[in-house]
Protein backbone atom coordinates (compact mmCIF):
# COMPACT_ATOMS: atom_id res chain seq x y z
CA UNK A 1 0.00 0.00 0.00
CA UNK A 2 1.24 3.46 -0.86
CA UNK A 3 1.93 6.00 1.86
CA UNK A 4 -0.93 8.46 2.06
CA UNK A 5 -0.60 12.02 0.77
CA UNK A 6 -1.45 14.64 3.37
CA UNK A 7 -0.25 17.85 4.92
CA UNK A 8 1.53 15.69 7.50
CA UNK A 9 3.36 13.52 5.02
CA UNK A 10 4.41 16.75 3.32
CA UNK A 11 5.80 18.12 6.57
CA UNK A 12 7.51 14.83 7.38
CA UNK A 13 9.18 14.67 3.99
CA UNK A 14 10.23 18.29 4.21
CA UNK A 15 12.53 17.28 7.08
CA UNK A 16 14.88 15.48 4.71
CA UNK A 17 14.25 17.68 1.74
CA UNK A 18 11.70 15.39 0.05
CA UNK A 19 14.28 12.74 -0.74
CA UNK A 20 12.05 9.88 0.41
CA UNK A 21 8.86 10.24 -1.61
CA UNK A 22 8.06 6.99 -3.39
CA UNK A 23 7.04 6.72 -7.04
CA UNK A 24 3.45 7.66 -7.88
CA UNK A 25 3.33 4.55 -10.06
CA UNK A 26 5.81 1.80 -10.87
CA UNK A 27 7.49 1.30 -14.20
CA UNK A 28 7.12 -2.48 -14.56
CA UNK A 29 8.29 -4.73 -17.38
CA UNK A 30 5.39 -6.24 -19.32
CA UNK A 31 4.22 -9.68 -18.15
CA UNK A 32 3.66 -12.40 -20.73
CA UNK A 33 -0.08 -12.48 -20.01
CA UNK A 34 -2.76 -10.37 -18.34
CA UNK A 35 -6.41 -11.03 -17.57
CA UNK A 36 -7.25 -7.84 -19.40
CA UNK A 37 -5.38 -5.16 -21.31
CA UNK A 38 -6.46 -1.57 -21.77
CA UNK A 39 -4.97 0.06 -24.85
CA UNK A 40 -4.53 3.76 -24.24
CA UNK A 41 -3.21 5.48 -21.13
CA UNK A 42 -5.46 8.49 -21.25
CA UNK A 43 -8.02 9.39 -18.63
CA UNK A 44 -10.61 6.93 -19.92
CA UNK A 45 -8.16 4.05 -20.17
CA UNK A 46 -6.64 4.65 -16.74
CA UNK A 47 -10.06 5.13 -15.11
CA UNK A 48 -11.25 1.90 -16.72
CA UNK A 49 -8.26 0.06 -15.28
CA UNK A 50 -8.77 1.64 -11.85
CA UNK A 51 -12.43 0.59 -11.66
CA UNK A 52 -11.74 -2.88 -13.09
CA UNK A 53 -9.36 -3.39 -10.18
CA UNK A 54 -11.35 -1.55 -7.53
CA UNK A 55 -14.93 -2.59 -8.37
CA UNK A 56 -14.40 -5.91 -10.13
CA UNK A 57 -11.29 -7.31 -8.48
CA UNK A 58 -9.46 -7.64 -11.80
CA UNK A 59 -5.92 -6.70 -10.74
CA UNK A 60 -3.79 -8.70 -13.14
CA UNK A 61 -4.29 -6.16 -15.86
CA UNK A 62 -2.22 -3.64 -17.79
CA UNK A 63 -2.66 -0.25 -19.35
CA UNK A 64 -0.61 -0.04 -22.53
CA UNK A 65 0.43 3.47 -23.55
CA UNK A 66 2.46 4.27 -26.65
CA UNK A 67 3.91 7.41 -25.12
CA UNK A 68 3.47 8.94 -21.69
CA UNK A 69 0.18 8.56 -19.80
CA UNK A 70 -2.14 11.52 -20.17
CA UNK A 71 -0.22 12.68 -23.22
CA UNK A 72 -3.23 12.47 -25.50
CA UNK A 73 -6.32 14.62 -25.29
CA UNK A 74 -6.53 14.17 -21.54
CA UNK A 75 -3.36 16.23 -21.33
CA UNK A 76 -4.45 18.89 -23.76
CA UNK A 77 -8.07 19.67 -23.01
CA UNK A 78 -9.71 22.76 -21.57
CA UNK A 79 -11.09 20.77 -18.63
CA UNK A 80 -14.73 21.83 -18.72
CA UNK A 81 -16.87 19.58 -16.57
CA UNK A 82 -20.67 19.71 -16.87
CA UNK A 83 -23.57 17.31 -17.26
CA UNK A 84 -26.41 19.48 -18.57
CA UNK A 85 -26.86 17.66 -21.87
CA UNK A 86 -30.24 17.24 -23.56
CA UNK A 87 -30.69 13.55 -24.28
CA UNK A 88 -31.52 11.22 -21.39
CA UNK A 89 -28.70 8.81 -22.20
CA UNK A 90 -26.17 11.63 -22.27
CA UNK A 91 -27.41 13.11 -19.00
CA UNK A 92 -27.08 9.71 -17.35
CA UNK A 93 -23.40 9.19 -18.13
CA UNK A 94 -22.22 12.79 -17.78
CA UNK A 95 -23.99 13.27 -14.45
CA UNK A 96 -22.64 9.98 -13.08
CA UNK A 97 -19.25 11.29 -14.13
CA UNK A 98 -19.68 14.75 -12.63
CA UNK A 99 -20.83 13.34 -9.33
CA UNK A 100 -17.83 10.98 -9.22
CA UNK A 101 -15.60 14.01 -9.80
CA UNK A 102 -17.04 15.61 -6.66
CA UNK A 103 -15.27 13.06 -4.48
CA UNK A 104 -12.48 11.94 -6.75
CA UNK A 105 -9.59 13.70 -4.98
CA UNK A 106 -10.49 11.92 -1.76
CA UNK A 107 -11.19 8.59 -3.47
CA UNK A 108 -7.80 8.67 -5.20
CA UNK A 109 -5.97 10.49 -2.39
CA UNK A 110 -4.67 12.76 -5.14
CA UNK A 111 -5.85 16.34 -5.41
CA UNK A 112 -7.20 16.68 -8.96
CA UNK A 113 -8.64 20.04 -7.99
CA UNK A 114 -12.22 19.56 -9.12
CA UNK A 115 -13.47 23.13 -9.01
CA UNK A 116 -17.27 23.41 -9.22
CA UNK A 117 -17.06 27.07 -10.12
CA UNK A 118 -20.09 26.95 -12.39
CA UNK A 119 -20.57 26.71 -16.17
CA UNK A 120 -22.49 29.40 -18.05
CA UNK A 121 -23.74 28.68 -21.57
CA UNK A 122 -24.74 31.94 -23.20
CA UNK A 123 -27.92 32.34 -25.23
CA UNK A 124 -27.26 34.79 -28.04
CA UNK A 125 -30.17 34.13 -30.41
CA UNK A 126 -33.88 33.48 -29.85
CA UNK A 127 -33.31 30.01 -31.21
CA UNK A 128 -30.48 29.28 -28.79
CA UNK A 129 -32.54 30.65 -25.91
CA UNK A 130 -35.44 28.36 -26.73
CA UNK A 131 -33.12 25.39 -27.17
CA UNK A 132 -31.59 25.94 -23.73
CA UNK A 133 -34.99 26.52 -22.12
CA UNK A 134 -35.93 23.11 -23.45
CA UNK A 135 -32.72 21.61 -22.09
CA UNK A 136 -33.39 23.26 -18.74
CA UNK A 137 -36.82 21.60 -18.51
CA UNK A 138 -35.38 18.22 -19.46
CA UNK A 139 -32.49 18.55 -16.99
CA UNK A 140 -34.75 19.60 -14.13
CA UNK A 141 -36.98 16.56 -14.61
CA UNK A 142 -33.86 14.40 -14.77
CA UNK A 143 -32.86 15.82 -11.39
CA UNK A 144 -29.95 18.07 -12.39
CA UNK A 145 -29.24 21.26 -10.49
CA UNK A 146 -29.28 23.77 -13.35
CA UNK A 147 -31.19 26.92 -14.20
CA UNK A 148 -31.67 29.67 -16.76
CA UNK A 149 -30.25 33.04 -15.73
CA UNK A 150 -31.04 36.54 -16.98
CA UNK A 151 -28.54 38.88 -18.66
CA UNK A 152 -28.35 40.82 -15.39
CA UNK A 153 -27.44 37.69 -13.45
CA UNK A 154 -24.90 36.83 -16.14
CA UNK A 155 -23.27 40.21 -15.59
CA UNK A 156 -23.19 39.59 -11.83
CA UNK A 157 -21.55 36.20 -12.26
CA UNK A 158 -19.14 37.46 -14.95
CA UNK A 159 -18.55 41.20 -14.58
CA UNK A 160 -16.11 41.31 -17.52
CA UNK A 161 -18.67 40.05 -20.03
CA UNK A 162 -20.04 42.32 -22.76
CA UNK A 163 -23.79 42.74 -22.15
CA UNK A 164 -24.27 45.65 -24.55
CA UNK A 165 -27.78 45.01 -25.96
CA UNK A 166 -26.69 46.50 -29.31
CA UNK A 167 -23.69 44.27 -29.88
CA UNK A 168 -23.67 41.77 -32.73
CA UNK A 169 -25.10 38.91 -30.67
CA UNK A 170 -26.59 40.40 -27.51
CA UNK A 171 -26.76 38.11 -24.49
CA UNK A 172 -30.41 37.15 -24.01
CA UNK A 173 -29.70 34.95 -21.02
CA UNK A 174 -27.68 31.89 -20.17
CA UNK A 175 -28.04 28.32 -19.06
CA UNK A 176 -26.20 27.82 -15.78
CA UNK A 177 -24.90 24.70 -14.04
CA UNK A 178 -23.57 25.89 -10.67
CA UNK A 179 -21.88 22.56 -9.86
CA UNK A 180 -20.15 22.31 -13.22
CA UNK A 181 -16.62 23.57 -13.46
CA UNK A 182 -13.08 22.49 -14.16
CA UNK A 183 -10.44 20.07 -12.92
CA UNK A 184 -6.67 19.68 -13.15
CA UNK A 185 -6.43 17.53 -16.28
CA UNK A 186 -2.97 16.02 -15.72
CA UNK A 187 -3.83 15.21 -12.11
CA UNK A 188 -6.83 13.18 -13.26
CA UNK A 189 -4.56 10.93 -15.32
CA UNK A 190 -1.87 10.77 -12.64
CA UNK A 191 -4.33 10.21 -9.81
CA UNK A 192 -6.00 7.30 -11.61
CA UNK A 193 -2.59 5.90 -12.54
CA UNK A 194 -1.38 6.06 -8.94
CA UNK A 195 -4.66 4.56 -7.72
CA UNK A 196 -4.63 1.74 -10.27
CA UNK A 197 -0.95 1.03 -9.68
CA UNK A 198 -1.59 0.74 -5.93
CA UNK A 199 -4.16 -1.96 -6.71
CA UNK A 200 -1.62 -3.89 -8.79
CA UNK A 201 -2.32 -2.62 -12.29
CA UNK A 202 0.76 -2.49 -14.56
CA UNK A 203 1.10 0.79 -16.40
CA UNK A 204 3.28 0.19 -19.44
CA UNK A 205 4.48 3.43 -21.00
CA UNK A 206 6.45 3.81 -24.25
CA UNK A 207 4.71 0.64 -25.40
CA UNK A 208 2.89 1.05 -28.70
CA UNK A 209 0.33 -1.49 -29.81
CA UNK A 210 1.08 -2.64 -33.35
CA UNK A 211 -1.38 -5.49 -33.76
CA UNK A 212 -4.41 -7.26 -32.29
CA UNK A 213 -3.92 -11.02 -32.11
CA UNK A 214 -6.97 -13.13 -32.84
CA UNK A 215 -8.03 -16.73 -33.02
CA UNK A 216 -11.07 -16.74 -35.27
CA UNK A 217 -13.68 -14.59 -33.58
CA UNK A 218 -11.75 -14.26 -30.31
CA UNK A 219 -8.91 -11.97 -29.23
CA UNK A 220 -5.84 -13.71 -27.85
CA UNK A 221 -3.47 -10.81 -27.28
CA UNK A 222 -1.65 -7.83 -28.68
CA UNK A 223 1.69 -7.24 -30.27
CA UNK A 224 3.53 -4.16 -29.09
CA UNK A 225 6.85 -2.41 -29.50
CA UNK A 226 7.78 -4.12 -26.23
CA UNK A 227 6.81 -7.59 -27.40
CA UNK A 228 3.70 -9.74 -27.52
CA UNK A 229 1.26 -9.81 -24.62
CA UNK A 230 -1.39 -12.53 -24.19
CA UNK A 231 -4.87 -11.62 -23.00
CA UNK A 232 -8.51 -12.57 -23.55
CA UNK A 233 -9.99 -9.13 -22.91
CA UNK A 234 -8.96 -5.97 -24.68
CA UNK A 235 -10.40 -2.51 -24.15
CA UNK A 236 -9.50 -0.08 -26.92
CA UNK A 237 -9.51 3.43 -25.48
CA UNK A 238 -7.33 5.41 -27.85
CA UNK A 239 -9.50 8.37 -28.85
CA UNK A 240 -8.07 9.99 -32.00
CA UNK A 241 -6.21 6.80 -32.85
CA UNK A 242 -9.10 4.42 -32.41
CA UNK A 243 -9.58 3.82 -36.15
CA UNK A 244 -5.98 2.76 -36.61
CA UNK A 245 -6.25 0.23 -33.76
CA UNK A 246 -9.64 -1.12 -34.83
CA UNK A 247 -8.34 -1.52 -38.38
CA UNK A 248 -5.81 -3.94 -36.86
CA UNK A 249 -8.81 -6.01 -35.76
CA UNK A 250 -10.57 -5.56 -39.09
CA UNK A 251 -13.37 -3.46 -37.63
CA UNK A 252 -14.32 -0.27 -39.48
CA UNK A 253 -15.42 2.63 -37.31
CA UNK A 254 -17.89 5.50 -37.76
CA UNK A 255 -15.11 7.88 -36.73
CA UNK A 256 -13.07 10.68 -38.21
CA UNK A 257 -10.02 12.18 -36.49
CA UNK A 258 -9.92 15.95 -36.52
CA UNK A 259 -7.69 18.52 -34.87
CA UNK A 260 -9.18 20.56 -32.06
CA UNK A 261 -7.14 23.45 -30.72
CA UNK A 262 -6.85 25.30 -27.45
CA UNK A 263 -4.71 28.13 -26.17
CA UNK A 264 -3.79 29.96 -23.01
CA UNK A 265 -3.06 33.59 -22.26
CA UNK A 266 -0.28 34.89 -20.07
CA UNK A 267 -1.22 34.51 -16.42
CA UNK A 268 -3.08 37.44 -14.87
CA UNK A 269 -4.75 38.09 -11.53
CA UNK A 270 -8.24 36.52 -11.26
CA UNK A 271 -10.86 38.08 -13.57
CA UNK A 272 -13.11 35.13 -14.32
CA UNK A 273 -14.24 32.55 -11.82
CA UNK A 274 -16.61 30.44 -13.82
CA UNK A 275 -16.58 28.77 -17.23
CA UNK A 276 -18.28 30.71 -20.01
CA UNK A 277 -19.32 29.05 -23.27
CA UNK A 278 -20.54 31.17 -26.19
CA UNK A 279 -21.73 28.63 -28.72
CA UNK A 280 -23.28 30.94 -31.29
CA UNK A 281 -19.94 32.62 -31.85
CA UNK A 282 -17.89 29.46 -31.13
CA UNK A 283 -15.65 30.29 -28.22
CA UNK A 284 -15.36 29.43 -24.57
CA UNK A 285 -13.08 30.53 -21.78
CA UNK A 286 -12.17 29.91 -18.18
CA UNK A 287 -9.29 30.98 -15.95
CA UNK A 288 -6.97 28.43 -14.44
CA UNK A 289 -5.73 28.55 -10.87
CA UNK A 290 -2.32 29.64 -12.17
CA UNK A 291 -4.00 32.65 -13.77
CA UNK A 292 -3.92 31.95 -17.49
CA UNK A 293 -7.12 32.24 -19.48
CA UNK A 294 -7.88 28.85 -20.99
CA UNK A 295 -9.56 29.13 -24.38
CA UNK A 296 -11.00 26.62 -26.79
CA UNK A 297 -13.02 26.71 -29.97
CA UNK A 298 -13.96 24.56 -32.93
CA UNK A 299 -12.20 21.91 -35.00
CA UNK A 300 -10.69 22.15 -38.45
CA UNK A 301 -13.00 20.47 -40.94
CA UNK A 302 -10.50 17.98 -42.37
CA UNK A 303 -8.91 14.78 -41.06
CA UNK A 304 -5.69 15.59 -39.28
CA UNK A 305 -3.28 13.52 -37.18
CA UNK A 306 -0.62 16.19 -36.84
CA UNK A 307 -1.68 17.67 -33.48
CA UNK A 308 -1.26 21.05 -35.14
CA UNK A 309 -4.31 22.91 -36.36
CA UNK A 310 -5.03 25.75 -38.73
CA UNK A 311 -4.56 29.30 -37.50
CA UNK A 312 -8.04 30.27 -38.73
CA UNK A 313 -9.88 28.03 -36.28
CA UNK A 314 -8.01 29.69 -33.45
CA UNK A 315 -8.44 33.15 -34.95
CA UNK A 316 -12.23 32.82 -35.05
CA UNK A 317 -12.35 31.74 -31.43
CA UNK A 318 -10.18 34.60 -30.25
CA UNK A 319 -12.15 37.14 -32.31
CA UNK A 320 -15.36 35.89 -30.75
CA UNK A 321 -13.93 36.10 -27.25
CA UNK A 322 -12.50 39.60 -27.71
CA UNK A 323 -16.06 40.62 -28.57
CA UNK A 324 -17.50 38.70 -25.60
CA UNK A 325 -14.83 39.81 -23.09
CA UNK A 326 -13.50 43.15 -24.40
CA UNK A 327 -10.79 43.41 -21.71
CA UNK A 328 -8.81 40.52 -23.17
CA UNK A 329 -7.94 42.56 -26.25
CA UNK A 330 -4.73 43.82 -24.60
CA UNK A 331 -3.85 40.48 -23.03
CA UNK A 332 -1.55 38.09 -24.83
CA UNK A 333 -1.61 34.56 -26.13
CA UNK A 334 1.07 32.49 -24.45
CA UNK A 335 0.75 29.11 -26.13
CA UNK A 336 -1.50 27.22 -28.52
CA UNK A 337 -1.74 23.51 -29.23
CA UNK A 338 -3.94 20.88 -30.78
CA UNK A 339 -5.29 17.45 -30.03
CA UNK A 340 -6.65 14.73 -32.28
CA UNK A 341 -10.31 14.24 -31.47
CA UNK A 342 -12.37 11.21 -32.45
CA UNK A 343 -15.63 12.43 -33.97
CA UNK A 344 -18.51 10.03 -34.50
CA UNK A 345 -21.36 10.41 -36.98
CA UNK A 346 -23.74 11.70 -34.31
CA UNK A 347 -21.06 13.37 -32.18
CA UNK A 348 -21.86 11.08 -29.26
CA UNK A 349 -19.44 8.54 -27.77
CA UNK A 350 -19.18 4.80 -28.36
CA UNK A 351 -19.04 2.40 -25.38
CA UNK A 352 -19.49 -0.99 -26.91
CA UNK A 353 -18.82 -4.64 -27.29
CA UNK A 354 -17.78 -5.64 -30.79
CA UNK A 355 -18.37 -8.60 -33.12
CA UNK A 356 -15.05 -9.98 -31.91
CA UNK A 357 -15.21 -11.82 -28.59
CA UNK A 358 -13.19 -10.10 -25.87
CA UNK A 359 -12.76 -6.87 -27.84
CA UNK A 360 -14.39 -3.78 -26.37
CA UNK A 361 -14.17 -0.18 -27.52
CA UNK A 362 -14.55 3.13 -25.70
CA UNK A 363 -14.15 6.15 -27.98
CA UNK A 364 -15.88 8.94 -29.82
CA UNK A 365 -15.69 11.36 -26.92
CA UNK A 366 -14.47 13.85 -29.47
CA UNK A 367 -14.40 17.37 -28.13
CA UNK A 368 -16.11 16.60 -24.85
CA UNK A 369 -14.82 13.56 -23.00
CA UNK A 370 -12.71 14.95 -20.18
CA UNK A 371 -15.83 15.55 -18.13
CA UNK A 372 -16.80 11.93 -18.75
CA UNK A 373 -13.62 10.21 -17.58
CA UNK A 374 -14.82 8.85 -14.20
CA UNK A 375 -18.26 7.81 -15.45
CA UNK A 376 -16.97 6.29 -18.65
CA UNK A 377 -14.27 4.34 -16.79
CA UNK A 378 -16.87 3.18 -14.28
CA UNK A 379 -19.40 1.79 -16.78
CA UNK A 380 -16.83 0.55 -19.28
CA UNK A 381 -15.05 -1.44 -16.56
CA UNK A 382 -18.40 -2.96 -15.65
CA UNK A 383 -19.10 -3.72 -19.30
CA UNK A 384 -15.74 -5.44 -19.77
CA UNK A 385 -15.90 -7.34 -16.48
CA UNK A 386 -19.37 -8.75 -17.15
CA UNK A 387 -19.17 -8.98 -20.94
CA UNK A 388 -22.46 -7.08 -21.35
CA UNK A 389 -23.15 -3.39 -21.66
CA UNK A 390 -23.71 -1.56 -18.39
CA UNK A 391 -27.18 -0.02 -18.35
CA UNK A 392 -25.78 3.48 -18.84
CA UNK A 393 -23.43 2.30 -21.61
CA UNK A 394 -26.14 0.46 -23.54
CA UNK A 395 -27.47 3.37 -25.64
CA UNK A 396 -23.91 4.09 -26.79
CA UNK A 397 -23.42 0.77 -28.58
CA UNK A 398 -22.04 0.54 -32.13
CA UNK A 399 -25.30 -1.02 -33.30
CA UNK A 400 -27.08 2.34 -33.06
CA UNK A 401 -25.68 3.45 -36.40
CA UNK A 402 -27.36 0.64 -38.33
CA UNK A 403 -30.64 1.19 -36.46
CA UNK A 404 -30.66 4.96 -36.96
CA UNK A 405 -30.81 5.30 -33.16
CA UNK A 406 -28.59 8.37 -33.09
CA UNK A 407 -27.86 10.41 -29.96
CA UNK A 408 -27.68 13.90 -31.34
CA UNK A 409 -26.76 16.65 -28.90
CA UNK A 410 -26.35 19.37 -31.52
CA UNK A 411 -30.13 19.57 -31.22
CA UNK A 412 -29.56 21.50 -28.00
CA UNK A 413 -27.64 24.10 -29.99
CA UNK A 414 -24.75 23.26 -27.68
CA UNK A 415 -21.23 22.28 -28.58
CA UNK A 416 -20.02 19.21 -26.80
CA UNK A 417 -17.07 20.53 -24.80
Amino acid sequence: MKSKYSIFSLARNAQNYHKDWERAWRSPTPKAEYDAVIIGGGGHGLATAYYLAKNHGLTNIAVVEKGWIGGGNTGRNTTIIRSNYLQDSSIAIYELSRSLYEGLSQDLNYNMMFSPRGVLMLCQTQHELRAFQRTAHANRLAGLDCRMVTPTEVKEIVPIINTDPNCRYPILGAYYQPRGGTGRHDAVAWGYARGADALGVDILQNCEVTGILRDGGKVTGISTTRGEIKTKKIGVVTAGHVSTIMDMAGIRMPIESLCLQALVSEPIKPVLDCVVMANTVHGYMSQSDKGELVVGGGTDPYNNYSQRGSFTALEHTVTALVETFPIISRLRMLRQWGGIVDMTGDRSPILSKTDIEGLYVNCGWGTGGFKAIPGSGFVFADTMANDRPHKIAEPFGLNRFAEGRLIDESVAAAVAH
Partner: protein
Amino acid sequence: MLVVTCPVCDASGDETDFHYGGQAHVKRPATTDPVNITDEEQRDYLFIRHNPKGLHFERWRCDRGCGKWFHAARDTMTLEFKATYGITELPPVELMKEAKGPWAEFFKKRLKEKA
Protein backbone atom coordinates in the same frame (compact mmCIF):
# COMPACT_ATOMS: atom_id res chain seq x y z
CA MET B 1 -3.88 27.30 -43.19
CA LEU B 2 -3.48 24.91 -46.11
CA VAL B 3 -2.97 26.04 -49.68
CA VAL B 4 -5.38 24.27 -51.99
CA THR B 5 -5.26 24.32 -55.79
CA CYS B 6 -8.38 23.62 -57.81
CA PRO B 7 -7.80 21.23 -60.73
CA VAL B 8 -10.76 22.74 -62.60
CA CYS B 9 -9.94 26.46 -62.67
CA ASP B 10 -6.38 26.21 -61.37
CA ALA B 11 -7.11 28.82 -58.70
CA SER B 12 -4.95 28.31 -55.67
CA GLY B 13 -5.67 29.81 -52.30
CA ASP B 14 -6.17 29.38 -48.58
CA GLU B 15 -8.23 26.45 -47.30
CA THR B 16 -10.86 29.02 -46.30
CA ASP B 17 -11.52 29.71 -49.99
CA PHE B 18 -12.47 26.05 -50.34
CA HIS B 19 -15.01 23.78 -48.74
CA TYR B 20 -14.06 20.40 -47.32
CA GLY B 21 -16.42 17.61 -48.37
CA GLY B 22 -15.24 14.60 -46.37
CA GLN B 23 -14.10 11.20 -47.57
CA ALA B 24 -13.98 10.56 -51.32
CA HIS B 25 -15.49 7.67 -53.29
CA VAL B 26 -18.34 6.95 -50.86
CA LYS B 27 -21.00 5.09 -52.82
CA ARG B 28 -24.66 6.06 -52.40
CA PRO B 29 -26.44 2.70 -52.62
CA ALA B 30 -29.89 4.11 -53.41
CA THR B 31 -28.73 5.72 -56.64
CA THR B 32 -28.09 2.37 -58.28
CA ASP B 33 -30.59 0.12 -56.48
CA PRO B 34 -33.06 1.89 -54.17
CA VAL B 35 -34.84 -1.33 -53.27
CA ASN B 36 -32.32 -3.83 -51.89
CA ILE B 37 -30.27 -1.97 -49.33
CA THR B 38 -29.43 -3.58 -46.00
CA ASP B 39 -29.28 -1.52 -42.83
CA GLU B 40 -25.56 -2.24 -42.76
CA GLU B 41 -25.01 -0.93 -46.29
CA GLN B 42 -26.92 2.22 -45.38
CA ARG B 43 -24.84 2.59 -42.18
CA ASP B 44 -21.62 2.21 -44.10
CA TYR B 45 -22.75 4.85 -46.60
CA LEU B 46 -23.79 7.32 -43.89
CA PHE B 47 -21.29 6.76 -41.08
CA ILE B 48 -18.40 4.38 -41.65
CA ARG B 49 -15.33 6.32 -42.77
CA HIS B 50 -11.78 5.60 -43.76
CA ASN B 51 -9.69 7.43 -41.20
CA PRO B 52 -6.08 6.66 -42.08
CA LYS B 53 -3.01 8.14 -40.48
CA GLY B 54 -1.25 9.01 -43.72
CA LEU B 55 -2.51 9.03 -47.31
CA HIS B 56 -6.21 9.89 -47.51
CA PHE B 57 -8.64 10.60 -50.36
CA GLU B 58 -11.24 13.30 -49.97
CA ARG B 59 -13.59 15.81 -51.58
CA TRP B 60 -13.18 19.58 -51.75
CA ARG B 61 -15.17 22.35 -53.40
CA CYS B 62 -13.67 25.41 -55.05
CA ASP B 63 -15.96 27.56 -52.94
CA ARG B 64 -14.60 31.02 -53.72
CA GLY B 65 -13.47 30.12 -57.20
CA CYS B 66 -15.27 28.23 -59.94
CA GLY B 67 -17.62 26.52 -57.49
CA LYS B 68 -16.76 23.04 -58.72
CA TRP B 69 -16.22 19.94 -56.62
CA PHE B 70 -13.03 17.92 -57.00
CA HIS B 71 -11.06 15.11 -55.41
CA ALA B 72 -7.78 15.38 -53.52
CA ALA B 73 -5.22 12.96 -52.12
CA ARG B 74 -3.71 14.34 -48.90
CA ASP B 75 -1.45 13.05 -46.16
CA THR B 76 -3.16 13.42 -42.79
CA MET B 77 0.18 13.51 -40.96
CA THR B 78 2.05 16.14 -42.99
CA LEU B 79 -1.18 17.64 -44.46
CA GLU B 80 0.62 17.71 -47.81
CA PHE B 81 -1.53 17.43 -50.95
CA LYS B 82 -0.27 14.59 -53.14
CA ALA B 83 -2.66 15.20 -56.03
CA THR B 84 -6.02 16.62 -57.04
CA TYR B 85 -8.28 14.99 -59.62
CA GLY B 86 -11.73 15.22 -61.14
CA ILE B 87 -14.82 14.61 -59.03
CA THR B 88 -15.86 11.69 -61.23
CA GLU B 89 -12.35 10.26 -61.51
CA LEU B 90 -10.15 7.83 -59.60
CA PRO B 91 -6.77 8.90 -58.20
CA PRO B 92 -3.54 8.47 -60.19
CA VAL B 93 -2.57 4.79 -60.29
CA GLU B 94 0.64 5.23 -58.27
CA LEU B 95 -1.37 6.75 -55.42
CA MET B 96 -3.92 3.93 -55.54
CA LYS B 97 -0.95 1.58 -55.13
CA GLU B 98 0.53 3.68 -52.31
CA ALA B 99 -2.73 3.61 -50.33
CA LYS B 100 -2.79 1.56 -47.11
CA GLY B 101 -5.36 -0.27 -44.99
CA PRO B 102 -9.01 0.08 -45.98
CA TRP B 103 -8.07 2.35 -48.88
CA ALA B 104 -5.76 -0.34 -50.29
CA GLU B 105 -8.65 -2.85 -50.16
CA PHE B 106 -10.94 -0.34 -51.83
CA PHE B 107 -8.55 0.37 -54.70
CA LYS B 108 -7.51 -3.26 -55.26
CA LYS B 109 -10.68 -3.91 -57.28
CA ARG B 110 -10.37 -0.61 -59.18
CA LEU B 111 -6.76 -1.37 -60.10
CA LYS B 112 -7.75 -4.77 -61.46
CA GLU B 113 -10.46 -3.11 -63.58
CA LYS B 114 -7.90 -0.65 -64.92
CA ALA B 115 -5.38 -3.41 -65.73
